[in-house]
């Protein structure tokens, strides 16, 4: 329905393409796949902005769900699970579209012949992150979800103590992504979807 508008997709594309072009002009390796301990603060900020883009779009969309057609939209479905699947698939699509825009422009600009498989990990990471945030949000409040989103980004970018390494993997060490980690992420995504579905069904007030 109204959730993803044409404009949102266009904004996604433009922002991510701009990001890639800007980054590509100065570096050869895609910023997501660089070793994070060697990137500069300017690059980190670029990364921060690009990571925020899809999420800002999703937040805007969620707002509309809740303040706009929320109730009218919900009750036209058969059950809550159907609403959940529909709405979260939509936002997952935004995440994937944005990442794809980055990948495509990256390929175009570097005239690569193949896709770096680590991009798959980047997509999984985004989706996972998004779902985690949604769970917190449905369970507690939308403010906590937003805080978590912003907190995670700052945390992942600026904290680099060894104890936090396993968590940092979740928060953006894309340079270390491999097939095994991607599969694990896919499994986590499935689990998170199941969790969201459960929360949605059990929630008393919607």
């Amino acid at each position: 329905m109204v959730q993803i508008t044409k404009y949102q997709i266009v904004i996604c594309f433009i922002l991510s393409t701009l990001f890639v072009i800007g980054q590509q002009l100065t570096h050869e390796t895609p910023i997501y796949l660089m070793n994070q301990s060697t990137i500069t603060y300017v690059q980190q900020i670029a990364l921060l902005v690009s990571q925020l883009t899809p999420f800002i779009l999703i937040v805007g969309w969620e707002e509309r769900m809740q303040t706009g057609q929320g109730l009218n939209y919900f009750v036209r479905h058969k059950n809550r699970l159907q609403v959940m699947i529909k709405s979260y698939l939509h936002s997952t699509i935004i995440v994937i579209v944005t990442t794809f825009a980055i990948i495509l422009s990256q390929i175009f600009l570097t005239k690569q012949t193949g896709i770096d498989y680590r991009w798959l990990g980047v997509i999984c990471f985004y989706v996972m992150w998004h779902l985690l945030q949604r769970i917190v949000e449905s369970y507690f409040s939308s403010v906590s979800g937003l805080a978590m989103m912003v907190g995670m980004i700052g945390f992942g970018l600026f904290v680099k103590t060894p104890i936090l390494l396993p968590i940092l993997f979740l928060f953006g060490r894309f340079s270390e992504l491999n097939t095994c980690k991607t599969i694990i992420m896919l499994m986590i995504i499935t689990g998170l979807y199941a969790g969201l579905g459960y929360i949605y069904r059990k929630k008393q007030v919607i």
């Binding site: 329905m1 109204v2 929320g70 009218n72 009750v75 058969k78 008393q204 007030v205």
Partner: protein
Amino acid sequence: MIEVKNITVKIKKETILKDVSYIFEAGKIYGLRGRNGAGKTMFLRALAGLIRVSSGRIVVDGEVLGENIDFPPSLGLLIENNNLAPEFSLTKNLKLLSQIKKVATDDDIEQTIARVGLTTNDSRKVAKFSLGMKQRGAIAQALFEKPSLILLDEPTNAIDQKGVIQIRELLAEEAQRGATIILASHNLEDLTLLADKIIDLSDGEIVSDV
């Protein structure tokens, strides 16, 4: 037919509805009356499946809410605010909603907009509507799919006198068509002129029905 069987709704230990039972029949108009905070809106939310009951059952045409269905299958709903997307025209709003169930045609949409007293080819965004126009739009939203259960929370709020008469006629027609209509209102005239039964709620309990 909607059977409400001993429903209790508790939110965080606070009891909002206490052991409410009632049978709503098709083709009738029911009025909910009660002071602010009596539980009228919560009762409508429970009937719409937007809030889970803590105990008891709501059975809509033989199907238990919250078991194999979460929302009444044929429902028109207007609760408190107008709930239309402000950045689209009313026609666009209804068209988008109609895509979910696919039971209403473009003709149904146009006809309903005319029936609530708005102009059908108005391309203005809902955000630019006056309060009463938004309310009429929201009523159109609740009616355009010809639902068999219509829940309206203070439907005549902000609507001018002529419009109120128009809306009352409209609701009477809907009941004639066979819809069950339940409306909460502080407008005594609405209730006495329209309702076949008036249900009095107080502190989450039905205290009388006449």
